[in-house]
């Protein structure tokens, strides 16, 4: 059984998480980082979930200390504050998962994230959807012509089935362009294909797209088999765009827009192997608001 430590100064949050997780995991809780640190020194936890703002040592510093002591421990921050304000701090302390304390609390979201991180099965849209997940379509993109077709087909499919596709068309444009043109590269790092020309990808470079929905949300996953994203790169790009410093950057706009125009953006990375970007929109307003930071790197 995996062990999880919850650290939060707000008793109701601590109890709530404890109650939710205790059936599946071995759970402990602490009301501040100092007590949490003592517990971590006594034994290794598979995962530590911590609040950001606490009296005494703050969450990010605490988690980065935990990581130093036990690099295998997965770390997650939770906060009621605006996560955009914490991106720079996340870079500094090497934290890639921050989830919002929504009301009502989104247990399913936390549950799927915890499961993905603990089991290291991070890839696949279905993992982040309810059991009643319904695949609407899945496509392989092997050329720039197909990229356009798939983008149109997928968004039309969502609109036809669900009555809306949010701003998915806009985002897909950016993400697919990135995957087709900017991912494939020569060993020295220079990109293989210039933008705006017709491109036929090599068999091992194909891009996979899947879209589907459950009862509360719909999503699209774009898997890029030559993806070269790293968590440092993603954090850097998002941070620059949020801080308003990245207006003139050549890249990073796509990721920022995806985060902005969808309710959830999950980036899964298997270094030098593949990258998956998952975009999720909720049907109801209750889980919107602050955007989590979800970068899972194996």
């Amino acid at each position: 059984m995996y062990s999880i430590l919850i650290v939060d100064d707000e008793t109701s949050i601590r109890m709530m998480l404890y109650d939710y997780l205790e059936d599946k995991y071995k759970v402990d809780s602490a009301e501040n980082a100092e007590i949490g640190m003592r517990m971590c020194k006594e034994r290794d936890f598979d995962m530590v979930i911590s609040d950001v703002n606490m009296p005494g040592m703050k969450g990010p510093e605490f988690l980065s200390e935990v990581k130093k002591m036990c690099p295998a421990t997965r770390t997650v921050l939770i906060t009621a504050y605006n996560i955009d304000n914490y991106i720079r701090m996340a870079r500094e302390f090497n934290i890639t998962n921050i989830i919002p304390k929504t009301t009502p609390f989104n247990f399913l979201e936390l549950g799927s994230l915890i499961d993905a991180l603990l089991t290291k099965n991070i890839f696949g849209l279905s993992r982040y959807m309810l059991p009643a997940y319904n695949v609407l379509g899945s496509y392989c993109i092997r050329s720039s012509v197909e990229a356009k077709q798939v983008r149109e087909t997928a968004t039309a499919l969502l609109t036809d089935t669900l009555g809306t596709s949010g701003n998915m068309r806009l985002i897909l444009d950016e993400i697919i362009t990135n995957a087709v043109y900017h991912a494939p590269a020569y060993p020295d790092g220079t990109e293989k294909y210039p933008e705006y020309v017709e491109v036929h990808l090599q068999p091992d470079e194909f891009v996979y797209l899947e879209c589907g929905h459950d009862t509360e949300k719909y999503g699209i996953s774009i898997t890029d088999n030559k993806g070269r994203l790293t968590k440092e790169m993603v954090l850097y790009k998002i941070d620059r765009q949020i801080a308003g410093e990245g207006i003139l950057d050549d890249s990073g706009r796509g990721i920022h827009m995806s985060r902005l125009f969808s309710d959830r953006m999950i980036i899964n990375i298997s270094p030098n192997n593949k990258t998956e970007i998952i975009l999720i929109n909720y049907f109801s307003h209750k889980y919107r608001g602050y955007k989590p930071l979800y970068i899972n790197e194996l």
Binding site: E10, T11, S12, I13, R14, M15, M16, L17, D19, Y20, A80, Y81, N82, D84, K101, T102, T103, P104, F105, F107, G163, T164, N167, I242, A243, G244, H256, M257, L260, F261, K286, G289
Partner: protein, 419 residues
């Protein structure tokens, strides 16, 4: 007649004739000399005649009179207009000759008798000026505000013969002033609330989560049926509290949004769709969207939020009116018109409804946080202040008019002009 008498008579006549001739020639010479002197004087020093001088000065005064963009007229004791400037004629859309002789209350204020509290009347009575008095003019589509001043013109006998009415359109100033006050209020409230709201969301999240856990497995918490019921009401209560907190945060958040060159018409269509999806379809929608509308640099998600909010307000207002009229056994055909048009470097989005309308005294408050006319629990009263904030972030503004059963919200946004 004897000859010598005839001769003498002729002599006298000739003598007279000669004298007259000499006199005439002398006069003629003098006259010529005078004329020459006069012409010389005029030629050398180029003096205008008195009439020319008066003409020039009259022309100067008239030009100044017409150049003034405020509306000026002179009236006599019967309120008949004896003089009027060009701006006045342009505003009332009549040629000057059709205005002269008519009464000012008829021409400008479209009334059949003098205005209540007419400042011109007082000026005639007392012979003193009335500095500034505010008047409101309403027609079917809008309300305009005017400052009116009246000044006496004394005749030769000293009594006031005419009164000059000086009318200034202060509608824009008033709108901008109102907006300034509004934004200042919002800014103060914003900074204050941000901190509170975050701190509130933290326990609210815990409460709602714990309650959710309890409802999930009631027996684990020893809850009986009554307990479940009570805990469910807690769930609703936290949901409501959260809604207020989220709106408050939105109000206070100064976030760097994205700016994308956006087709406003597309956003409007999406927003109307979203409102209809929510089942709010008690009204007929009419979209009058200008096809060649210039694009606007904005955050499309936020602008969509603003339009959804305003259209929802319109729908609710119509639903309320329907309900009211139904009580009297009357029917009401709800209508929402959304139109877009370019106006001098800006884009105007009009959202017009024939719902409850907004009274003049409420109008100043509708953008205030927590101001709501709806029953408790039906709205937080933050929607319009959030809209106001968003539009302000885009350097735009919102203008409201409510008249004769029609309420118009106009969102004015600057058009993107490439540098």
């Amino acid at each position: 007649m004897p000859f010598p008498i005839v001769l003498a008579a002729f002599g006298i006549f000739a003598a007279f004739f000669f004298f007259a001739l000499v006199q005439y020639r002398a006069l003629h010479r003098k006259n010529k000399a005078l004329e020459k002197a006069l012409r010389g004087a005029q030629g050398e020093r180029n003096l205008p005649s008195l009439t020319d001088k008066i003409k020039l000065s009259k022309h100067q005064l008239e030009t100044a009179f017409d150049a003034i963009t405020d509306f000026i007229c002179a009236i006599d004791r019967d309120y008949k207009i004896v003089r009027v400037n060009k701006s006045y004629a342009q505003y009332v859309k009549l040629p000057i000759r059709d205005i002269l002789g008519k009464q000012c209350f008829e021409v400008f204020w479209k009334q059949s008798s003098p205005c209540d509290n007419c400042p011109a009347g007082r000026t005639f009575l007392r012979g003193t000026q009335v500095a500034k008095q505010q008047f409101i003019q309403r027609d079917l589509y809008n309300v305009r505000y005017f400052d009116v001043g009246t000044y006496p013109v004394a005749g030769s006998g000293g009594a006031t013969e005419n009164v000059i009415e000086y009318i200034r359109d202060v509608t824009e100033e008033k709108n901008i002033m109102e907006q300034l006050i509004r934004s200042e209020k919002l800014a103060t409230i914003g900074t204050m609330t941000a901190g509170i709201a975050h701190e509130m969301i933290n326990p609210l999240s815990g409460i709602s989560g714990t309650v959710a856990n309890m409802l999930q497995v009631p027996e684990k918490y020893g809850l009986n049926q009554k307990g479940i019921q009570r805990v469910s009401t807690l769930m609703d209560a936290t949901a409501r509290a959260t809604m207020i907190m989220k709106d408050l945060l939105h109000l206070s958040r100064k976030e760097e949004g994205t700016s994308v060159l956006t087709e406003i018409n597309t956003i409007i269509k999406k927003a109307v769709n979203a409102v209809q999806l929510k089942g709010l379809s008690s009204a007929e929608y009419k979209l009058l969207l200008e096809k060649t509308l210039p694009k606007v640099l904005c955050d499309p998600v936020k602008i969509e939020q603003v339009i959804i909010n305003m259209v929802t307000n319109a729908v609710q207002s119509i639903a309320e009116k329907k309900e009211r009229l139904a009580l009297e056994g009357k029917e009401h055909n709800g209508m929402i018109i959304i139109s877009t048009q370019p106006v001098d470097g800006t884009v105007h989005i009009d959202i017009i409804d024939n719902g409850m309308g907004i009274s003049e005294d409420v109008k100043g408050k509708i953008f205030d946080p927590f101001f709501t006319t709806r029953a408790p629990g039906e709205g937080t009263g933050l929607g319009l202040s959030v809209c106001h904030r968003i539009i302000e972030e885009h350097n735009g503004r919102i203008v409201v008019e409510s008249n004769n059963g029609l309420t118009t919200f106009t969102i004015i946004m600057p058009v993107h002009s490439p540098q």
